[in-house]
């Protein structure tokens, strides 16, 4: 290879430090104790999220999301958060509604997939008040994987030659073995991650069923991790099927039992997303004043997630969503 190759780099800001040694220094002091970590959502958010932190949310927008934690972040008025928009849909609607975010790694934002675009999130992003760096879904997965591996970057073969690369913070490199050009994606070590799981024990050993998105890597990459769980199970049940342990206790700092905790999102094998509610939310966003009232009533003025569930049909509604998930809603 005699031809010189120009190596380019993305021009936008890298919001998190990819340094693997600094991460090791942090993880050196992270507790390995297998102790009871059960707490409340209020307490977890109070002690684990501070203004200015970079946060990540497990699941996939409106699938298996830790809604109770998102609401609590809004209710406690957390500000200037960095956020990974890794197919962020309803989670993003909540955080933008609460004006919590000031910088954003974008893969997918402001849309709700087949449901359409979020007018409020769109206004917020178009205002120019949130700093954006562009990435992609695979890139954010690999940035989180690089951190989970304890590295500072991972090479990949996507995004080169595009404006997505130009407005990212990635860099091109050459493979030391083949000379092939790759893009180096910087490791993403978030300050905080919230992940909703199907079941876990009081120590944070967790089971997740269905598509896992990036959550196994996310639990390892983040410095502080809270699990909300549909139900707490015994440690015996974990030990009966050790091959099913999706997240081990040493990744987890706090555990909160939140049944229906992904509502209005989908929880695989448990309940489907509340499409009527999500549609209503999208429609109300068209009018900023109406949306403000709705958001206040739904999130800011509710005491906790259970009050929110009751406001939206309570257990009767949840049973309907369970029937939709189990395909037993129609005769």
């Amino acid at each position: 290879m005699s031809k010189t190759v120009e190596l380019k780099q993305g021009q936008n800001e890298l919001f998190t430090d990819p340094d693997a040694d600094k991460a090791r220094e942090f993880f050196r002091h992270k507790s390995r104790a297998m102790v009871n970590k059960v707490t409340t959502v209020e307490e977890a958010v109070k002690t684990m999220v501070k203004d200015g932190d970079y946060i990540t949310i497990g699941g996939f927008g409106a699938n298996r999301i830790p809604t109770a934690v998102l609401h609590e972040i809004v209710r406690q008025g957390k500000k200037n958060l960095g956020f990974a928009g890794h197919t962020a849909t309803h989670d993003f609607q909540i955080l933008v509604g609460g004006k919590c975010i000031d910088r954003l790694d974008v893969a997918y934002i402001i849309g709700l997939e087949a449901r359409g675009l979020s007018p409020h999130a769109r206004r917020a992003v178009e205002s120019g008040k949130i700093k954006l760096t562009e990435w992609t879904n695979a890139t954010l997965s690999w940035r989180i994987k690089a951190a989970a591996m304890g590295l500072s970057f991972l090479p990949a073969r996507n995004i080169m030659g595009t404006d997505t690369f130009k407005y990212s913070a990635a860099r091109e490199i050459l493979c030391p073995f083949t000379g092939q050009k790759y893009v180096a994606h910087p490791a993403l070590y978030p300050d905080f991650a919230a992940i909703h799981v199907h079941e876990c024990d009081v120590y944070g050993n967790a089971h997740v069923y269905g598509a896992s998105v990036s959550d196994q890597d996310l639990a390892k990459a983040a410095k502080r991790v809270v699990l909300t769980t549909e139900r707490i199970i015994s440690n015996d049940k974990i030990r009966q099927h050790p091959e099913e342990t999706f997240i081990p206790f040493w990744c987890v700092d706090a555990v909160v039992e939140v049944p229906y905790g992904s509502y209005p999102g989908n929880m695989p094998y448990e309940y489907f997303s509340d499409e009527e509610y999500l549609k209503q939310w999208l429609n109300l966003e068209k009018d900023p004043e109406e949306f403000k009232k709705f958001f206040k009533k739904q999130i800011i003025d509710t005491k906790n997630f259970y009050e929110y569930l009751n406001l939206n049909g309570g257990i009767e509604r949840m049973i309907k969503l369970r029937a939709i998930e189990h395909l037993t809603d129609k005769k």
Partner: protein, 256 residues
Amino acid sequence: MADYNPMELMICVAARNLEDGATVVVGTGAPCAAAMLAQKTHSPNLTVMFEAGGVAPILPAMPISVGDSRTFHRAIMASSMPEIMETCQRGMVDYTFLGGAQIDMYGNINSTMIGDDHAKPKVRFPGSGGANDLASLCWRTMMMTPQDAKRFTEKINFITSPGYLTGGNSRYEAGLPKGTGPYRIITNMAIMGFEEESKRMKVLNVNPGYTRKDIQENCGFELLWADKITDTDPPHADELRILRDEVDPQRYIIGR
């Protein structure tokens, strides 16, 4: 002649391009319908994947999200996003479908923004999601889209997902895997491919009811034309029946 709408035509044409035994990553909507139609007609062994991790589901209904539980209903695998994207990067995924607000003559696609200031866009769209990854890493990228001169434009505002970049060999010189790239652009008016050397968009088939003039007038750049242009084979009665009765009985995608 069977009566059909442009969406039904595009889905039928797309489905015919998915051969038995191939792999395809799809999103919600028309691409998912095309894959389901292919499975129920000529490609029973088409493996359908969703970027959040679902592999080869038996779809009980149209997914609303590429990560919802329908995307792994009775599936072969409920895996992860890295698993799907790494399968693409390893060269095991044959097809994908993309959408977007703008496309240029090299098949580059914009789904990020309109305007000239990235920090303060005139109109913001969701961004890449998995689109850039799939366009970079799958062998053949297809697009189903209505055609007009605003959408098919000389210069797109933002290259979210790579086509052939500036044509010729530029895609591979940029570092993207060799042999990958846009394959078919299926519109309400025509079916396009890409010219071998220049990598410019080239009309292959004209859809029933449209002329060459319509197709060029509804495109903001100069199209190339295949030596032998043939008429698009319209949807067959059995394709339409399966599409309407089995694939999308609620008519979410094909409309009423």
